[in-house]
Assembly symmetry: C2
Homo-oligomer: 282 residues x 2
């Protein structure tokens, strides 16, 4: 029940306080509020989260429009240009390619691999915009990026029924799991960079949870606003800090801790976490 009571949001400084917006019957209490209010901890922007998820993934679901204007969902593999625009390579034998030729409006959702058994706790991002056929040098770059992500496509790269499409991103909606979500425009998405520690994050989270539960618990108690925490697990980590899932006798909660300074390369993640643990132990 502890987990159930906390899944709906980060009680402290959540960018979009989901629990507050849900239409909840009176008397429903789901989250343990922090006893000591921790300092404001900076977070990645929605655009940065989106770029990080797109950089980490290789498959997405594509939404296109069927001939009667109805939506059509399908699986695609994708590569990405430097500004985060996704590249897909699809055969006219498949309905989604014929749909794009008829109406190029499209949307992609990229989902991170779920770390636990609750699939809706996984981060995901929806990109919506217009698919465009790249010309000239852009076509070469787009194909190269697609083949880097999907090497097996090399064998059919010459097939004439396949065509490249680049999604011009107009709208971005990021959902970081329960209660963490935010939107961004195409300009912010293109201008943002994937989190530099993104590729190292899954390994770091697994390592912290397997070998450093005591340090995480100390962080939750002294820096995370939950002095009565009984367990703490790392839920997410990025260049600015980490998110802990904390259990207390009052219920469970997420809390966010900032690194002393942003991590600027993946190799710096370890030192930043060690510093946080040292600070937590006073």
């Amino acid at each position: 029940m502890g987990r159930l009571r906390a899944i709906l949001g980060y009680p402290n400084r959540v960018p979009s306080p989901a629990h507050g917006e849900h239409d909840v019957p009176d008397g429903t209490a789901v989250i343990a509020a922090p006893i000591v209010s921790p300092d404001d901890a900076p977070r990645l922007s929605a655009a940065e989260h989106a770029r990080t998820l797109v950089a980490a993934g290789r498959t997405a679901s594509l939404a296109t429009l069927a001939d009667d204007g109805a939506p059509w969902a399908s699986l695609v593999a994708y590569g990405a240009l430097d500004d985060g625009r996704p590249v897909v390579f699809v055969s006219r034998l498949a309905e989604h390619a014929r749909n794009l030729e008829r109406d190029p409006r499209a949307s992609l959702v990229v989902t991170e691999a779920p770390s636990g058994d609750d699939a809706l706790a996984a981060g995901r991002v929806t990109l919506a915009g217009v698919a465009e056929r790249p010309d000239g040098a852009l076509a070469g770059t787009a194909l190269e990026r697609y083949l880097a992500a999907v090497p097996t496509a090399r064998v059919y790269a010459e097939f004439r029924d396949f065509s490249l499409w680049v999604l011009r991103v107009e709208r971005v909606r990021w959902v970081g799991g329960y209660g963490r979500m935010a939107s961004a425009g195409g300009g912010a998405y293109a201008a943002a960079a994937p989190d530099v520690v993104g590729p190292a994050a899954p390994g770091a989270i697994a390592h912290l949870n397997a070998d450093h539960a005591d340090a995480l618990l100390a962080m939750a108690r002294t820096l995370g606003g939950h002095p009565d925490a009984t367990t703490a697990a790392c839920h997410a980590i990025d260049r600015l800090g980490l998110d802990l899932f904390v259990s207390t006798p009052r219920g469970s909660a997420f809390t966010r801790l900032a690194f002393a300074r942003p991590v600027t390369d993946p190799g710096g993640l370890r030192a930043a976490t060690v510093e946080l643990a040292r600070r937590a132990r006073g």
Copy 2:
């Protein structure tokens, strides 16, 4: 290269021979044809494959229509009714729910977990139709099925911004990986049953490949039409038979082998495979 040359289709008895339909430049040879033509091996129907994938999954990507009629892709969890209709439970705080209220046309794509590093080799199914708000007893059953698939939703089942939707399935498109694909209507989808050995398939495939490579090779050589096979791996298994990925000096290929009779319960899978191996060894 062996794998690359074979990914485009099953050379023997492929329901929709992808290689033949692709617009391939002259001189491109990608698949090793069988030397000895094996007997026709029965396959699951597209509707059965679709029902099996939907029964195995818990998350899907949903395509809906934004207010300007553009497509919008998002992640959902789902349960399923006995006739395979998916049930989703979404908050009006999320764009997909507002989209369904405005225009209930919707499509879901369910993707199986990729077993190798080629994501496009994974099976997937697109369902398209109209989302409906269930009434009366159906609403109770629908919620029950959703909560069975997504137990954590119990905590917000009472939130008034959430609503249940059941997808009335009108069109089904199944893609079994490269070169294996077929369509079905809503009636065939509802009438089909999930493959009875579906839940046991991933474990059986892993076991065969880890411990019985010699038996698989014998099957490929004597029953699969590739007497010069050098390696064979189980790619898929279902109640009617199994699919092997075969390497030969001529290139690589998929081949299909039928069980002596359809397997009628998961416990029968082992005996059917043992019988096939015995037959392969003469």
